[in-house]
Symmetry: C2
Subunit: 221 residues, 2 copies
């Protein structure tokens, strides 16, 4: 158990170091040696967990969608909104999320398959929208997979624009504007009227998750 | 006149070379020497037009929004749609457009102000949407600058997703889906019903512009 804990910690240290180096240098220019120095682990430990630079990048890419998920909501459109705004909040506050999103947009990263996060987020969105449709929350013509793809692609660009213009200061406002523009085309008006898409939602969902995590810890301990 | 022509040609050659090098290597890793070699011009000529790497990058960045504009349309929403789909078509076919868009998303480009294309496209969109509103094409609550920002940011991400997933093969379909999701939230239904947002629109607008350019050349000659 102790050994396993240590392996998890080492893996986490390596990924944190990789995230930092990829973010500063880009995938193409980053070297395993830089990541080694940053992580302060042995070469053997690093190669045990990640046999190549691409494995390190894929590790960072998949971290961004393995954060604690939004709790189940009765309204599936709200759950979708909460998933989106929580990711926006993570971009502002969590270096690992930031590194993963940037890496998936690194168009100079030759030989790195960057499709993973797009496809996984698309699946998450499609699943939530299909549940929303089954509950009668969507307009009749809505196609869950298409709307999910539009949201995932748009989110990637809106975050890039916010980063280029003001280093994410207006990100939550921009994401709220995106949702207010896309959702009315696919969600029943009466459902949408009860959904919170304001720019404070990201922080509220994050606080809720932290509270839940503390409760779980208290119960476990 | 001949001298001026040559200067324009040299400047164009340098920018084409810079676009190629930036796209292959990313802003951070690219060097002026590589661009010199690719362009096949003298150091003096290059520095005369572009005194630094950032100047070269800004040159590539501003090329993407200095292509021939969409002709005036009676319906301003159609003109906006045509501007968006023409840019998508350019991404598929014009290396300079591609290099400019990728450079503006290069989050590893330290010291390069990438806000220009976002702000300029945002202005173009805002102006068209303000004209659309003046003509009664928009829903009463629409805020032109906000919708323009959503479109510009979303477009940047949708193109990145299409590039990551299939090297732009489905770009026109994805951009059409984006417009079908965003426009109903701000455009009067009767106006939208008459707007062409199909995925063939990009090619049609491009052909129209080529035809116009040929006509102009014939008149000038």
């Amino acid at each position: 158990m102790v050994k396993q804990d240590r392996a998890i910690r080492t893996r986490h240290n390596i990924l944190t170091a990789a995230a930092k180096v990829f973010e500063e240098r880009g995938y193409q220019a980053a070297t395993i040696n830089e990541i080694l120095t940053e992580a302060g682990v042995t070469k053997g430990a690093l190669y045990f967990h990640f046999p190549s630079k691409e494995h390190l990048a894929q590790g960072v890419l998949s971290e961004q969608d393995q954060r604690m998920p939004v709790p189940e909501r009765t309204c599936k459109v709200q759950q979708l909104v909460d998933t989106v705004v929580l990711q926006a909040y993570g971009l502002q506050t969590d270096p690992m999320v930031r590194a993963g999103v940037r890496l998936s947009l690194d168009q100079q990263a030759q030989g790195l398959d960057r499709s993973g996060p797009f496809l996984r987020w698309s699946e998450v969105g499609t699943e939530l929208l299909e549940k929303a449709r089954a509950q009668g929350e969507l307009l009749p013509h809505a196609v869950p997979a298409e709307t999910a793809d539009v949201l995932v692609g748009s989110f990637a660009g809106v975050q890039a624009m916010s980063q280029a213009l003001c280093d994410y200061q207006d990100l939550l406002r921009r994401v709220s504007a995106l949702l207010r523009h896309v959702l009315p085309s696919v969600v029943m008006p009466a459902v949408l009227a009860a959904v919170d898409i304001t720019e404070n939602r990201g922080g509220a969902v994050h606080a809720e998750l932290q509270h839940l995590a503390e409760q779980q810890k208290a119960t476990a301990g």
